[in-house]
Symmetry: C2
Subunit: 211 residues, 2 copies
């Protein structure tokens, strides 16, 4: 008997359990941090006994890496939005919009990422060195080409990128604060639209891409 059958009843059970565990883990890691998260609470939220969690994910760290892997996917997806040779206005509008959408749809992933960075990148250091560093360099080069071509003003491209990351991720990482300042309610559809519009316009106008 295979340990991890790809099809059949057991495979379906495995997949459903793993899915439930990873989702629960995202919530608990985001809310309590790596150390604060307990496998007991994750198992409870996933609706499985703690021993079963350890059957699917031998160690807490394995589970954490699985969760970080999911996040990487979303970040990569957003990164692709800036990976072409469109006009600056369209490219940046799409990139900012996509990042805002991810902040709304996957705030937990963004929070786990932020905490991982604040804790000294123990797990994602390699990713930053090997993938993000190169991607950033190429995007900076692209922005500098736009500057040379007169599409946008001469701003520091790297700090512009940081500004976009910071501003869009803030809506995920600080959603608790934003909700409280919004009268205890999460932002509505209309407010999200307004936030996205505000962020996009200030940045585009700030670099002289519009008006």
């Amino acid at each position: 008997m295979r340990t991890k059958p790809r099809t059949g009843r057991k495979a379906a059970i495995r997949e459903e359990n793993e899915r439930a565990i990873v989702r629960a883990a995202e919530q608990v890691f985001a809310e309590h941090g790596y150390q604060g998260a307990t496998t007991g609470e994750i198992a409870e939220r996933a609706g499985v006994p703690k021993a079963n969690l350890h059957y699917y994910f031998p160690t807490k760290d394995d589970l954490y890496q699985e969760v970080l892997g999911r996040i990487f996917g979303f970040w990569q997806e957003a990164a692709d939005a800036l990976d072409d040779q469109d006009h600056p206005v369209e490219a940046l509008t799409r990139y900012i919009g996509k990042k805002m959408d991810i902040s709304r749809a996957e705030p937990l992933g963004s929070k786990i990422w932020a905490q991982e960075i604040m804790h000294g990148t123990p797990t994602v250091h390699e990713y930053l060195e090997k993938t993000l560093k190169g991607w950033t360099r190429s995007r900076v080069a692209m922005l500098e080409r736009w500057i040379a071509d007169g599409h946008i003003r001469a701003v520091n491209a790297r700090y512009l990128l940081y500004m976009i990351w910071a501003t869009t991720q803030h809506y995920a990482d600080f959603e608790g604060q934003i909700s409280i300042l919004n009268g205890g309610r999460p932002l509505s559809d209309a407010q999200w639209g307004e936030a996205k519009k505000t962020v996009t316009e200030i940045i585009l106008r700030g670099i002289g891409a519009i008006e």
Copy 2:
């Protein structure tokens, strides 16, 4: 004999120990999160036996509250920079500059604050409700007056404020990522100046306050 003499040799010892413990606590809380921080490591970094830490701060939570108190001071100080009726360009330039300076001088506090928010504001909920909410409301009103007076364009004032918070705090909260992308070195004096200039210009131009 007083338990907490205000002067004399014992008072000096107390003050020095408390100071060392709080500084060490900032480092450990920022790096490992509330749960990940151990009183043992804090005591070790402060150079006192663990039992002595508990003599000065009975519980880990007391120490955490002390650390958060220090942070509030810096945030309040930055908030004051926007508390007057100057021209928008000067007021916002000073506020952004001050927030960037705090990000550089006190990144640990910013990180602890960010994590506290991400963990659901268990400790600072009251502060957000009672202090930050009112301050934000008054600053939004001020910005809207500037818009009405034609000093800046009609942007959503609340999301503009969030943008300033996000962008400036990013340099503290994500300093690990920024350092890696900077070739493994923290930003130099010149780079900090360039970052501050870039952030300030994009925002001021983005709201039509300059150019």
